[in-house]
């Protein structure tokens, strides 16, 4: 069976790499944590790690370069300087890229998102400070766009995931936001518990993001960035209400259908997509 190799970046203040690596393994990927410098030197030919050996590149959460100059800014600058063309080639070759939280911030700064008409490298979207002015750590309800080309969210209509960020508010020029919607590149939006739109209302929309946007993809659907952390819902006990859910099921004489958390679906979709290629 075809093994899907995933590369999870580590180093320079990224801190979700172990959990992301674990989630990818649960989803069936052959995942590897690779230091940013290993990858960069690999591009120069001196070290062993080359992007070409992988089918999925993961920009995980954390505080790369301590969020200096804005979250994800220095990470994007470093990768563009050393890997710019190779990253674009990686995407054009049909591979997958996901950026979670700090990784999403890096992807928009790199211009891999929004990537209208497969044109990369332009910074059209910013992810900036939460309206509340504070770091927020909470679970949110998300509504998934059924018409998005995003391969990561196939089959999903709604999902609950945790957010933890100080800079999660997506803003862009009106025309850019309109294009994101027209192309169905808005993958997921913050919602209320009943699935209706958050309409900017706190705490349903935790950061004041424009039109409740929580995650976007490029025009191919193979590059995906989101503020919530799918890797942090890898087991049913990650959910804050799990003891209540267990009790409800137990009183109905049922047991949990799966120990896996819903966030794994996003990684499993990626693995399934790559296997089918």
């Amino acid at each position: 069976m075809k093994q899907i190799k995933a590369l999870v970046l580590t180093g320079f203040g990224l801190n979700c790499d172990y959990e992301t690596d674990y989630a990818l393994k649960l989803a069936g990927a052959d995942s590897h944590r690779i230091h940013i410098n290993e990858l960069i030197h690999g591009a120069g030919g001196s070290a062993s790690v080359s992007l070409g050996a992988f089918q999925m590149l993961v920009f995980g959460g954390g505080f790369s370069w301590a969020d200096d100059h804005g979250a994800g800014v220095l990470m994007a600058a470093k990768l563009r300087r050393h890997l710019g063309l190779e990253l674009e080639k990686f995407v054009r070759d049909g591979n997958l890229v996901i950026g979670i939280c700090n990784g999403f911030q890096a992807l928009v700064n790199l211009g891999l998102l929004p990537g209208f008409d497969e044109i990369y490298g332009e910074r059209l979207v910013a992810i900036t400070y939460n309206d509340s002015g504070n770091f927020i750590d909470a679970w949110v309800n998300l509504r998934v766009n059924p018409d998005t080309p995003c391969v990561f969210t196939k089959g999903l209509s709604a999902i609950e995931l945790p957010v933890r960020h100080g800079e999660g508010k997506l803003i862009a020029e009106r025309g850019t936001v309109e294009s994101l919607f027209e192309n169905h590149q808005v993958v997921m939006r913050y919602a209320r518990e009943d699935g209706s739109a958050a309409q900017g209302e706190w705490p349903y929309n935790p950061n004041g993001s424009d039109r409740d946007i929580a995650g976007i993809c490029d025009s191919t659907g193979r590059v995906f960035g989101l503020m919530p952390h799918p890797e942090a819902y890898n087991h049913f006990t990650n959910h804050p209400d799990w003891t209540k859910r267990r009790e409800r099921l137990s009183r109905q004489g049922q047991v949990l259908p799966s120990e896996k958390g819903d966030g794994i679906t996003i990684f499993r979709n990626a693995v399934t997509y790559l296997k089918e290629q």
């Binding site: 504070n134 003891t243 009790e247 009183r251």
Partner: protein, 215 residues
């Protein structure tokens, strides 16, 4: 010193005050099956509320006395021989899935911690203080705010009540009330007018107030 702080002296100066050298223990353990774990939040209206462990006249150095500007004399004592079998029985009940929520009573006493359980579950609660296990002849204030050790608040589905009661003696475990859908948080003392009657949401707003707009 490990435990110290700065207090204002009589002339407004900062004075460092250190706790006396005290042996402290922090215990942790591995849970064999996380699926068996029980959290503190009340889960469903109609569930019964139990208190395990006796309330004594132990308001010394309590939150309540501190608010009133007193220290008091009767500080809480740990009665290991009494508590240990209760703890083991409680562990057994949790492992058997008998208990829906469990919360230890600490700083502030029963009234505070009953409210915490209700707030965490976003449910109402109706409690009869005259039913709690404990010393005879305690005043309502003592029962509400005493900080006696070795106590727990449990919530239980009614169908499991009999089995649970059979695991403990009546001296230690008593059914004291019920969870309700209505947001009213009520603590009565027998049939008299409630000692405490307040909306659970109001309690929660007050509880969160020290955080300002941060959460």
């Amino acid at each position: 010193m490990y435990i110290d702080g700065h207090l204002k002296g009589p002339y407004g100066e900062r004075r460092k005050v250190s706790g006396l050298p005290t042996l402290l223990f922090t215990a942790s353990s591995v849970v064999r099956d996380i699926g068996r774990c029980v959290t503190m939040d009340a889960k469903f209206s109609g569930d019964l509320v139990y208190v395990l462990g006796a309330t004594r006249n132990e308001l010394g150095a309590s939150e309540f006395y501190q608010m009133m500007g007193y220290t008091g004399l009767n500080v809480p004592e740990v009665h290991f021989e009494t508590f240990w079998p209760q703890y083991l029985a409680l562990h057994g009940a949790i492992t058997d899935g008998q208990i829906t929520s469990c919360h230890a009573v600490s700083r502030g006493g029963l009234a505070v911690h009953l409210a915490l359980v209700a707030m965490a579950g976003e449910l109402g609660m109706e409690i009869d203080l005259s039913r709690i296990p404990g010393s005879a002849g305690l005043t309502p204030t003592q029962r509400l705010y005493s900080e006696s050790c070795g106590r727990f608040i449990l919530t239980v589905v009614p169908e499991k009540a009999r089995d649970l009661e059979a695991m403990f003696s009546n001296d230690h475990l008593r059914r004291v009330g019920v969870l309700t859908e209505v947001p009213a948080f009520l603590i009565k003392d027998g049939k008299k007018i409630p000692l405490i009657a307040v909306d659970q949401e109001k309690l929660k707003a007050k509880w969160k107030r020290p955080f300002g707009g941060l959460i």
